[in-house]
C-alpha cells in the first residue's frame, strides 16, 4: 500500500520527523568526526560548552542565531510562494550597503534609536532591490530563479568588493572597509537582557537586531497565515494553476514575495554590520545566507520552527568555532558538513522515515 497520502498528526510531521532527520544528520557528522580520529562525544561536549557554557558563549550563539533568523525567514517567505531563493547570501551582502550608508550618514547627528529605523529600511530596501531583478526575470521572462539568484550572489559579491575597494574604503587604509560607525550608527548590545537571566554578556556582540529579528518572525507569521497577500503567496506556492484561476497575479505575487524575501535577507546585515563590527566589511555575510536554507528547511518554513533551527545553527557556529579552537584537527568547515547533512536529511530526504512512521503509527492506533 502506498503511504504517501495517509495523514499523520502534526506532532509527528512537524515535531518527530524533523527531529529524527536531525538526529541522523548528527549521527553521520559524528561518524565523520570519529573517522578523522577524534572522539565524537568529546567533541559534542566541547561544542555544547562552547556555545552554551558561559554568558559570552551564549551571547555569541545568539548573535549568530540572529543572523540565521533573518536569512531563514528570507528563504521561508520565498518558499511559501513556491520560489527557492538561493540568493539570500547576496541580498544580505547588498543589504549591508543600505545599512552602512544610513549609519555613515546619520551616526554623527543622531542617537542609535533614531538611526535604527532608517537602517532597517535601508538594509531591507537594498536587499529587496537585489532580489528584484531575479524576481522580475522569473515573473516576466520565466528564468529559473534558482539559477538567477545564484548568479546574483556572484554579481553582488563583485559589486560590493568594487564599492568597498574603490569607493567606500577609507583613504590610506588597507582593509577594504568603511570607517567605523560612531555610537549613533551602532546597535547597542543586549547586556540587560542577559542580565535578566543572571548572565554576563562580556564581549559577545549580541545586540538589538535580535529583537528586530523576533519582531520580523511575528510579522512574517502574520503575513503568511493572516494576510491576504500571504494567502495568495501560499496559493501560488502550492498550486500555480489554482492561483491563475483565483485571479492571483503571478508576476506581482512573485515579485512581492521576492522583495520581502530579499528585504529580510538584507536586514540580516544589521546584525554584523551595525551590531558587531560597526563597519561594512568584505564578505561579512560569511555564508549566513546559505545557512538560511538549512534553517528554513528544518524549521518547516514556520517562524517558530525557524527560531529553533536558527538557534541550533547558532549553537553549531559558536560551538563549532570553540570546538575547532580546542580540537584543531576538526576544522570549522565541519559545520558546513553538518549544514549540508541537515539540508539533505531535513530537506531532500524529509520523507525518508514517513512510511515507517505511518506503519508504526497505524499499529499504535489499532492497538
Amino acid at each position: 500500500m502506498s503511504t504517501a497520502s495517509v495523514p499523520l498528526p502534526n506532532w509527528i510531521t512537524y515535531g518527530l520527523m524533523p527531529l529524527l532527520n536531525l538526529i541522523v544528520a548528527f549521527l553521520i557528522s559524528g561518524l565523520v568526526v570519529w573517522w578523522i580520529g577524534e572522539n565524537p562525544i568529546e567533541a559534542l561536549k566541547l561544542l555544547i560548552e562552547g556555545s552554551l557554557g558561559r554568558g559570552d558563549a551564549i551571547g555569541f550563539t545568539l548573535f549568530y542565531t540572529t543572523s540565521f533568523i533573518f536569512t531563514g525567514l528570507s528563504v521561508a517567505v520565498a518558499f511559501h510562494a513556491g520560489l527557492f531563493n538561493i540568493g539570500s547570501e547576496g541580498q544580505a551582502y547588498v543589504g549591508g550597503l543600505g545599512a552602512a550608508l544610513v549609519a555613515l550618514s546619520l551616526d554623527q547627528y543622531v542617537p542609535w534609536y533614531v538611526t535604527m529605523p532608517f537602517a532597517v529600511i535601508g538594509a531591507a530596501v537594498f536587499g529587496a532591490a537585489w532580489a528584484f531583478i531575479p524576481a522580475w526575470l522569473q515573473a516576466k521572462r520565466g528564468s529559473h530563479i534558482v539559477i538567477t539568484t545564484i548568479m546574483f550572489n556572484f554579481i553582488g559579491a563583485a559589486l560590493m568588493v568594487y564599492l568597498l575597494v574603490h569607493v567606500l574604503i577609507v583613504p590610506g587604509k588597507m582593509a577594504p572597509e568603511t570607517r567605523t560607525f560612531l555610537p549613533g550608527g551602532q546597535l547597542p548590545k543586549l547586556d540587560w537582557l542577559m542580565a535578566l537571566f543572571g548572565l554576563k554578556l562580556g564581549p559577545a556582540p549580541f545586540n538589538v537586531s535580535f529583537l528586530i529579528a523576533l519582531v520580523m518572525c511575528f510579522l512574517v507569521w502574520v503575513l503568511i497565515w493572516r494576510s491576504k497577500l500571504g494567502y495568495e503567496m501560499r496559493t501560488l506556492g502550492i498550486s500555480p494553476s489554482a492561483a491563475v484561476y483565483a485571479g492571483i497575479p503571478y508576476a506581482r505575487t512573485v515579485i512581492i514575495a521576492m522583495l520581502i524575501s530579499g528585504g529580510l535577507a538584507g536586514m540580516m546585515a544589521l546584525n554584523p554590520v551595525m551590531g558587531s563590527s560597526a563597519r561594512l566589511q568584505v564578505e561579512f555575510v560569511g555564508g549566513a545566507g546559505f545557512v538560511g536554507i538549512a534553517v528554513s528547511l528544518m524549521g518547516r518554513s514556520h517562524p517558530l520552527g525557524i527560531i529553533f533551527a536558527a538557534l541550533l545553527f547558532g549553537i553549531l557556529y559558536q560551538g563549532g568555532a570553540d570546538l575547532s579552537f580546542e580540537m584543531p584537527n576538526i576544522t570549522r568547515e565541519m559545520i558546513v558538513v553538518i549544514q549540508g547533512l541537515v539540508i539533505l536529511f531535513a530537506g531532500a530526504l524529509e520523507y525518508m522515515f514517513r512510511p515507517t512512521m505511518v506503519h508504526i503509527y497505524q499499529r499504535f492506533k489499532r492497538a
Binding site: 500500500m1 502506498s2 503511504t3 504517501a4 497520502s5 495517509v6 495523514p7 502574520v222 493572516r226 494576510s227 491576504k228 497577500l229 494567502y231 495568495e232 501560499r234 496559493t235 502550492i238 498550486s239 494553476s241 489554482a242 491563475v244 484561476y245 483565483a246 485571479g247 492571483i248 497575479p249
Partner: protein, 503 residues
C-alpha cells in the same frame, strides 16, 4: 484453444492511502472475446486494469493468465505475458516520433539503427492487417488525439499483445473515429485476441462487447452476457439504484443578454488556434450547453471567458461591459462565477484546509477582512454555513481538502461559486468523477440558478448531461461552433455534429 480463460483475477484488493480503490475483485475474461467493464468515474476500473498491466501492485489477490498463476511485478512482466494496454491518459513521449514511441522499450538491441528498420517493416504489416494507418515519422504532439490513440494500440500490438486492454478509448474520439476503432477491435477478436474495453458509455458496451462486468465503488457487482442484458439493467447496476437521467425543470424565463461572445479566437500556448471565430450569447435565465468531443476547443473557450487565457482576438461582454482583457479577479467582481473543469488543479488547493478553499478567488473581499489581513473567524463561519447548506461531508472546515471525496470536493467549489450570487456562471464538467447523489444535487443547484435569472454557460463532454440541463445546445468541432440545437435534439444529430459531419 485451451478452455482456460485468458485472464482470471481472484480477490484483487488495492488501496491508495485512505481510498479503497479495488475491493476483493474477481473477474474472468474468456479468450477471443471483447469484455466490457463499466462503472462510474472513480469506480476503480483503471486501477484494476493497471494492476493487471503491472503498473500498480495489488495489495492482495491473484492473477492468472491462461490458467497459470502469475506474478506481474511490473509492466515488463505483463508485456511478457502478452498483455498490452492503452491507457486512459496516453503514455506517449510527445516530442518523439511515432516510430520512437513504438520502439521505446522494444528497441531490438542496444543500438537503434537496426531495430528502427525492423520496426518500420512491422509497422507497415500491422497497418495493412488492421487498417491502423499512421506516419511513422510524425511527431506525436502534431497528431490529433485519434491518431495518438492509434499509436498506443500499435505500441501494444508491436509488442505482440494477445490481450489488449483499452481504458476509455472513446472519450476523446468522435463517433466516427469510435466506429473505426470498434471495427479494428472486432478484427482483433476474430484473430483470436482478447480485448478488455473500459468505458462508462452503455451504448458502446451494447454495440461491441460479448460480456460485460460492472464495477461500483471499488467492487465488482455483476458480470453479464451482453446479449442477455439491457441498458437499463446495466445503468442500475452501475449506480446502485434506478437512475433518473432527466432533470426536472420548467420552461426557461429568458431575459436580456448577459454574456456575449463575438468573433472570439483563442490560441493555445503553442500558438495553435483552438477556438476559431466563435460567437454566441447567453441570456438571463437560460442554460446554454456546449457539446463536443474533448479537445475541440471547449476548454480554451471557457478559459478565455474566465480570464485565464488571453484571447487572440474577438470580444466578450458581461452585462454590456467588455471583459476580454479582464483578469479572473476583476471578473469575479463584475459577477462572473466559474466552476472550472479541473477541480484538482484549478478549483481547489488540495493542501489547503477546507475553509481556505471556500474563499479561493474571493479572499480579497471585504467581508473576509477589511484591509490587508484576513478575518479568519468570518471565513470559517462562512465555510461552516456552506458546509451545512450543501451537506458537505465530513462537516469540518479545518480538514485538509485532499481528504474529501471527489463529490464533496466538487460541492465545495460549487458552493463557493454559486453562493456569491453571480450574474453569470460558466461551468466546466460539473460532475466529472462525482458520485450519483452529488450529481443530482449539483444539477438541481444549476437549474435553481437558472430559475433565479442567471445566465449559465455549461461545458460537458457528457452528452446526457448537456441534453438534460441545457435550454439551448451549441456544438463545437475543431474550434468552431458548428451549430445550435434545442434541448430536444437527438443524440444522433448531436453526435454527427460533434464529428463535424452535419451542421
Amino acid at each position: 484453444m485451451s478452455q482456460h480463460p485468458a485472464i482470471e483475477l481472484i480477490g484483487i484488493d488495492k488501496s491508495f492511502g485512505a481510498v479503497h480503490a479495488n475491493k476483493n475483485i474477481n473477474l474472468s475474461v474468456a479468450k477471443g472475446t471483447i469484455h466490457g467493464i463499466i462503472g462510474e468515474n472513480g469506480a476503480g476500473k483503471s486501477t484494476l486494469m493497471s494492476i493487471l498491466y503491472g503498473f500498480y501492485q495489488a495489495d492482495r489477490g491473484e492473477i492468472r493468465v491462461d490458467g497459470q498463476s502469475v506474478a506481474i511485478k511490473d509492466s515488463q512482466a505483463a508485456i511478457g505475458h502478452g498483455i498490452g494496454m492503452v491507457h486512459q491518459h496516453f503514455m506517449l513521449v510527445e516530442n518523439f516520433s511515432v516510430l520512437e514511441n513504438i520502439m521505446l522499450g522494444a528497441e531490438g538491441g542496444q543500438l537503434l539503427a537496426k531495430g528502427r528498420s525492423g520496426a518500420r517493416a512491422e509497422l507497415k504489416r500491422l497497418e495493412d492487417e488492421y487498417g491502423l494507418e499512421v506516419d511513422p515519422d510524425a511527431i506525436i504532439e502534431d497528431l490529433p488525439v485519434g491518431t495518438q490513440q492509434r499509436v498506443e494500440i500499435l505500441k501494444a500490438l508491436y509488442r505482440g499483445a494477445d490481450i489488449l486492454i483499452l481504458d476509455e478509448p472513446t472519450g476523446v474520439l468522435t463517433p466516427a473515429e469510435a466506429d473505426h476503432l470498434f471495427k479494428v477491435l472486432k478484427v482483433l477478436r476474430d484473430q483470436g485476441k482478447t480485448v478488455i474495453l473500459i468505458t462508462h458509455k452503455l451504448r458502446e458496451i451494447m454495440a461491441i462487447t460479448d460480456d460485460v462486468s460492472v464495477m461500483r465503488r471499488g467492487e465488482m457487482v455483476a458480470t453479464r452476457k451482453t446479449a442477455e442484458t439491457t441498458v437499463e439493467e446495466l445503468a442500475e447496476l452501475m449506480v446502485g439504484r434506478r437512475v433518473l437521467l432527466r432533470v426536472e425543470k420548467g420552461e426557461p424565463k429568458v431575459g436580456k443578454v448577459l454574456l456575449s461572445v463575438r468573433n472570439l479566437t483563442v490560441k493555445d500556448s503553442r500558438g495553435v488556434v483552438m477556438v476559431d471565430d466563435v460567437s454566441f450569447d447567453v441570456r438571463e435565465g437560460e442554460i446554454v450547453g456546449i457539446a463536443g468531443v474533448a479537445g475541440n476547443g471547449q476548454s480554451e473557450l471557457l478559459e478565455a471567458i474566465a480570464g485565464i487565457r488571453k484571447p487572440a482576438s474577438g470580444e466578450i461582454q458581461l452585462d454590456g461591459k467588455p471583459i476580454a482583457d479582464a483578469d479572473p479577479a476583476r471578473l469575479r467582481e463584475l459577477g462572473l462565477a466559474h466552476i472550472p473543469e479541473d477541480r484538482h488543479h484549478m478549483g481547489l488547493v488540495l493542501k489547503f484546509e477546507e475553509y481556505e478553499n471556500a474563499v479561493l478567488g474571493y479572499h480579497r473581499d471585504k467581508r473576509y477582512g477589511s484591509g490587508a489581513l484576513l478575518d479568519l473567524n468570518a471565513i470559517r463561519a462562512d465555510a461552516a454555513e456552506k458546509i451545512e447548506k450543501y451537506d458537505i461531508r465530513p462537516p469540518n472546515p479545518r480538514l485538509k481538502t485532499a481528504n474529501f471525496s471527489g463529490g464533496n470536493q466538487q460541492k465545495i467549489v460549487v458552493a463557493r461559486e454559486i453562493e456569491r450570487d453571480p450574474k453569470a456562471l460558466i461551468i466546466g464538467q460539473p460532475t466529472r468523477g462525482v458520485d450519483i447523489g452529488a450529481i443530482e444535487f449539483i444539477h438541481r443547484r444549476i437549474v435553481e440558478m437558472r430559475d433565479a435569472g442567471k445566465a449559465i454557460l455549461l461545458v460537458s463532454v457528457e452528452l446526457d448531461e448537456i441534453r438534460s440541463l441545457s435550454d439551448r445546445i451549441l456544438v463545437m468541432f475543431a474550434g468552431k461552433v458548428v451549430g445550435e440545437k434545442g434541448a430536444d435534439a437527438s443524440e444522433q444529430t448531436l453526435g454527427l455534429m460533434m464529428a463535424g459531419i452535419a451542421a
